[in-house]
Amino acid sequence: MDQAGIVRLFKAYYARNTVPPPSSIEKREFAFSFFDSQGMARHMAFRDAGELNKFIRDKVPQHAYYSTAYYADPAASDMDEKGWQGADLVFDIDVDHINTPCKPLHDTWKCRNCGAEGWGFVEKCPSCGSDRVERQTWVCEQCISVARDEVLKLVDILEEDFGISRDEMYVVFSGHRGFHLHVEDSALVDLDQEARREIADYVRGLGIDPELYIARTRGGYTYRYTPEDPGWRGRIAKLLQLRPEAEGRLSRGELERLILECVAEARANIDEKVTMDVKRLIRLPGTLHGKTGLKVLRMTVQQLEALDARGVLEKAIALPDEPVRVEMDKWPRKILATSLPDQAGERTLPLYLAVYLALNGKARVLGPA
């Protein structure tokens, strides 16, 4: 199957499904990219769901985004003329930034400087040290499971500490490597960048000064707070209780190290840039992700809690599952919920998986099995 075949599949999906509009649709900027052209069409606006869906059905975008910000004139091409009125508080959890244990099973890298290559995740080429590394990344059930845990940690912090109600949050599976958590609370829309950074730092546990958490006692140091204390004080105390080595009096260095380990465990691994950005374009739920063919899936916090990673992926599968023959040079050993035993050349897979391999990698779909 060539690109035209994939476009036909996207078109059929949009013909059958309606994309639900984001809240206050008339104040949002929309942006799209298309299969047959480079770059992004930005600064678009729609009055209602009907207009938005008509556009999507006609143009069949590869990627669809909307602004987390609300604007007086979202279609203005100059950012200053848009008239910023506020923005949702958004968190991005992306497994690309988290070194999950499954990466050696599906991700590969190739150095554009010296040509070295291998499995797994590297920041720089281990052989020549160059950062011109080309990565091929795939997502499996385990990645999604790690990301899901991060979302649940985040929800816990937002509920407990920030007092944000679940009714004002929703989760979006991005259709690729992670989740977005949106908070639509009218009292928080006007937070500036500085305030959002402080919130992002809070959920990441960034800036915790262990010295403020310990007290000097006879013969060593102890943790100052109890699990009942609010905020990070109590959160760290709860985790310290699970560590036998934290009992009794410790040296300052040991206790500080233990505290920071607890912080690392409890922190939500978000991409702070997204939270800080008050004019972000973000994937539109209900559309298809143009690099995977999976659906950008909106759900409540309760729905995410009830689903495991496999459940999320199954719900995100939007394209048909009829068997097709696929050919690829370098197969990942695991993608989505499917394990692929070592084998070169051709194999038979469900269509949605073949599309993912073709969109994200260099797989060739040969035809029906």
Partner: protein, 350 residues
Amino acid sequence: MKAEPLRVALTTDDYARYPFLPDALRVVRELGLTLEELGETPLGLQILENARGKILSVIENGTYPPPGGDYRLEVSAFTTALLILSQVGDRALTEKFAVAFSKRVFESIEQDAVRRPELLLYLATVFGWSLRAGSGGISIHFKDYVYAQPEFTGPWKLVNRPLSSGYVEVGWRELARLLQTGVKKYVARLVESASVDPSVVPERLYAVVEEVSQKWAKTRSEVLAYAQAGYRKGDATAFPPCTRALLEDIKSGKNLTHSARFALASFLLSVGFSVEETLEVFKASPDYREDLARYQVEHIAGLRGSRTKYTPYKCDNMRSLGLCRWNCQGVKHPLQFFYRAVRGRPPRVE
């Protein structure tokens, strides 16, 4: 606490110390003084002269004079100063004025934190903050806390605070400090909303606007010229370590990330480098492309696009972006380091 209006007995002495309070402003409004009279009547001239003195004191030595005995004069002169600042329309001057004023007001807030804490709660409601009184003390909504947070490290950092159900516990002294920032931002907002059509500004008042503008521009340009000369002589010690590191990276032929380029270009432009001089620095970059770089630098300089002149990232943002691994004592913004160094008091770097 939110629902019930706070009852605080305000005296005329309070009006003089807190001239931005709605009650104080109302009392002065009742005097019925018009804009035209500011430049004409003896009382109007006295007010104008007092307002001028307040602003010049801020420009020349960074302090807002202590309140005088006549609360009517004090409040009128304060509002007239806001009007003058709004006509000058320089954000940095407004900021400087707001900072100096809030420092002066802080002295009163500190006293009242001990004598009659209800006045602090009243101030908070004037700023629209949401507070809760509990058994352990006072709690403030996190949104208002981060809005007024004086520092973004150590004990003030939100992550190190007891935060529960959206409220941050604070002590009375801490609340006083938060209110100081509240005053600063409130006054800056008052300046923004004080704008009137320049054509109705009386001549006498406009003369003060011009005088203030000139004094301010002169103070600024002297500092900038000094720094530029220093840099040209190869003496970059007035630059903070983050900026020096970026300069060294670029000199050694490294490609900088987008945010690093932004940080460096906006810094250089802010300390008075021209677009050409800034481009000269970037020429060492291996992926330098004249057209692209010029476009970006002109954009940051405010010559293109949104016409906003960008200032460099704050230190906290530099840290978040991985561009800073230092700790410059008492510095929250790279430009702050620079201005102190220029005045011969470079901050200590850890």
